[in-house]
């Protein structure tokens, strides 16, 4: 006999629809808005605004800067924090709460306060650092993304038996580097990817610091278009939304690769 599926309560359906509408309605409104043309009496629906965005040199220029910045932030963050968090879990677990507290600081300190502080701190720094997004902005974004990086990686390390895996690897002759790259990293891959994509999302949407430090990133371009041309801004918003979702989807796909499940399950024992 087949078991019938448990039926969803009507109230749950209502809440689900309401929650769905909360997300879908603004998106639909933006989409609808993006199909309009900036002229009186123009036909209802046109992809003109999307064409404008795609053929806009500033769009490609700023999105390139933001993407490279995001990648740089991800690389620096993982390079700094994977070994650090690994070491803390392995050797000095009592420092974990200290790190967790430090990771909360960027949540507590508003970006506007942070950028003022950072600008003052690095005022005398050389131009390659202070005057380009690759130095100053990347540094600020590593700090800004620290909570996301830390809590993702921390969860990943807590899901595996760091001590036993490390000792097993060493007893087989592996060095620290081999252990980190061949044993530890593959088993926290999902967590590292989570950290990477959260960082990507943070950098792709960060406005305050870039604006006050006078760097021309994608969110600055988005704000400029929004102020100067209404309808193309809708198209731009949806395109950036799709980029972020594309990143999240790729995380999902990579995370479901063979072996990842094993890592989580075995680690959770």
């Amino acid at each position: 006999m087949r078991l019938s599926r448990p039926r969803m309560a009507p109230s749950a359906v209502v809440w689900l629809l309401l929650a769905g509408a909360y997300f879908i309605v603004p998106l639909y409104a933006t989409f609808d808005f993006s199909l309009k043309k900036n002229a009186v009496g123009a036909p209802c629906c046109t992809l003109h605004n999307y064409g404008w965005v795609i053929h806009n040199g500033d769009f490609w220029h700023t999105i390139k800067i933001s993407f490279i910045l995001a990648l740089e932030t991800i690389v620096i963050s993982l390079f700094l924090f994977v070994p650090t968090i690994y070491w803390v879990h392995l050797k000095v677990p009592r420092l974990r709460p200290v790190l967790a507290f430090m990771a909360l600081v960027p949540f507590v300190v508003p970006p506007i306060v942070m950028v003022v502080g950072l600008l003052k701190t690095f005022k005398g720094a050389p131009h390659w650092f202070y005057g380009t997004p690759w130095g100053f902005l990347a540094t600020a974004y590593v700090i800004l993304a620290f909570p996301y990086t830390f809590f993702s990686l921390d969860a990943g390390f807590r899901a595996i038996d760091v001590h036993t895996l490390t000792e097993a690897s060493q007893s087989l002759g592996a060095t620290w580097t081999t252990t980190l790259f061949k044993v530890i990293l593959p088993n926290i891959r999902t967590a590292a990817l989570g950290a990477a994509f959260l960082t990507l999302a943070v950098v792709m949407g960060e406005f305050t610091i870039a604006n006050l430090a006078a760097f021309h990133t994608f969110p600055i371009f988005l704000q400029y278009v929004n102020e100067s041309q209404g309808f193309p801004a809708g198209a731009l918003t949806l395109l950036s939304f799709m980029i972020t979702w594309g990143a999240m989807l790729s995380l999902l796909l990579v995370g479901r690769k063979r072996g990842a499940r094993g890592a989580v399950i075995a680690g959770a024992r």
Binding site: L165, E167, A168, S171, L172, G173
Partner: protein
């Protein structure tokens, strides 16, 4: 010359002294079990040998060479851990191959050795499975194959069976011994299970409070424990406090009852002693049937535990006797019995005037 030597090892964590100077000497190809309750220092000793920790004082030598300053990845010690330690991102084959890859063995050589080892542990069919697709017992077999793959100088096993169910545990411990004998590999085995240690070891070292209480063959440990703790920890033992009343006649007194015990001969009168009697050597009979010939203790049956062919009878006064299940049926709970204490084969330990007996809980 001994193959593996531990000399005067001390290890202290803060104010806690985990090891208070242990000495072990093990010949090549021998199997030694470090046996003791939690916190006795056995795992600490094993970790020192593996190189995961350093002693405060003392040396570890292999073939006469001091291992001080040699990192765990340079010691060539295969280790099997208590927790499941297979790399979750690798198949069984890749796990076993890991150490060989690090040693730069060529591909054909690696493949052959991995296949041989997986066959040896009975898992040739599961080579391509990931750890989460293997049972606990299978995972520990792979871990054993992985540790053996690097042809270690010493095999270290840290309670590898403690997470497994009873049947698999017995099966796997026999396999470990078979493989160890087949390969002739020097092995250090940590366990808190005395039955396990006695079953598979050449030598057993019982540890308590950071020191080795006694070391010897399993038979020596069982038949001639040298301290009250070893007597209690290895097997089940009746421990009766007594004092010598007549050393020349070999007579002692326990709870008002005089007993004649050969081992008491030549002891000083008034000496405080501990009588050690294995449960299987106590003869029980129903009280008042007239068959007893002295040298007996009277008691009342408190519980009976069915253990298959034998039944364990517990009596008042803390007495325990193992007897055939058929005979135990005649001595139900509440029955008054006499326990015949044999004069020969009973151990006697001297107790200091103020020495308390170690309490390790219910006898096992």
């Amino acid at each position: 010359m001994s193959y593996l030597q531990l000399e005067n090892l001390h290890r202290q964590f803060g104010s806690f002294k985990a090891l208070k100077g242990i000495d072990i000497s093990l010949g090549e190809g021998e199997f030694l079990s470090l046996l003791g309750p939690s916190g006795c220092g056995k795992t600490t000793a094993l970790r020192l040998v593996a190189g995961f920790d350093r002693p405060n004082v003392g040396r570890i030598l292999i073939e006469g060479k001091d291992l001080a300053g040699v990192g765990p990845n340079k010691r060539d010690m295969g280790m099997v851990f208590q927790a499941y330690s297979l790399f979750p991102n690798m198949t069984a084959r890749q796990n076993v191959e890991f150490g060989l890859k690090i040693r730069g063995r060529d591909k054909a050589d690696r493949a052959k050795r991995v296949n041989d080892l997986l066959e040896l542990v009975g898992l040739g069919h599961a080579a391509e499975r990931y750890p989460h697709q293997l049972s606990g017992g299978m995972q520990q077999r792979v871990a054993l194959a992985r540790a053996l793959a690097i042809e270690p100088r010493v095999l270290l096993l840290d309670e590898p069976l403690s997470a497994l169910d009873a049947k698999v545990r017995v099966q796997l411990r026999e396999e470990i011994r078979r493989i160890q004998l087949e390969l002739g590999i020097t092995t250090l085995y940590v366990t808190h299970d005395q039955e396990e240690a006695l079953a598979i070891s050449d030598h057993v070292a019982v540890m308590y409070g950071g020191v080795i209480e006694q070391m010897g063959t399993p038979a020596e440990m069982y038949t001639a424990p040298k301290t009250p703790f070893v007597a209690e920890f290895i097997g089940t033992m009746n421990r009766l406090e007594a004092h010598v009343t007549d050393g020349s006649a070999g007579e002692v007194e326990h709870a008002g009852t005089r007993l004649r015990i050969d081992a008491a001969r030549g002891r000083t009168d008034g000496e405080r002693v501990l009588i050690l009697i294995r449960p299987e050597t106590l003869e029980l009979q129903a009280a008042g049937n007239g068959a007893a010939n002295g040298n007996m203790l009277t008691a009342e049956v408190v519980t009976q535990t069915f253990l298959g062919p034998v039944t364990r009878v517990k009596m008042t006064g803390g007495l325990i006797a193992d007897m055939s299940t058929a005979r135990a049926a005649a001595l139900p709970v509440g029955a008054n019995v006499v326990a015949q204490v044999p004069t020969e084969g009973v151990q006697l330990l001297t107790l200091a005037a103020d020495e308390a007996l170690p309490d390790i809980g219910e006898g096992t």
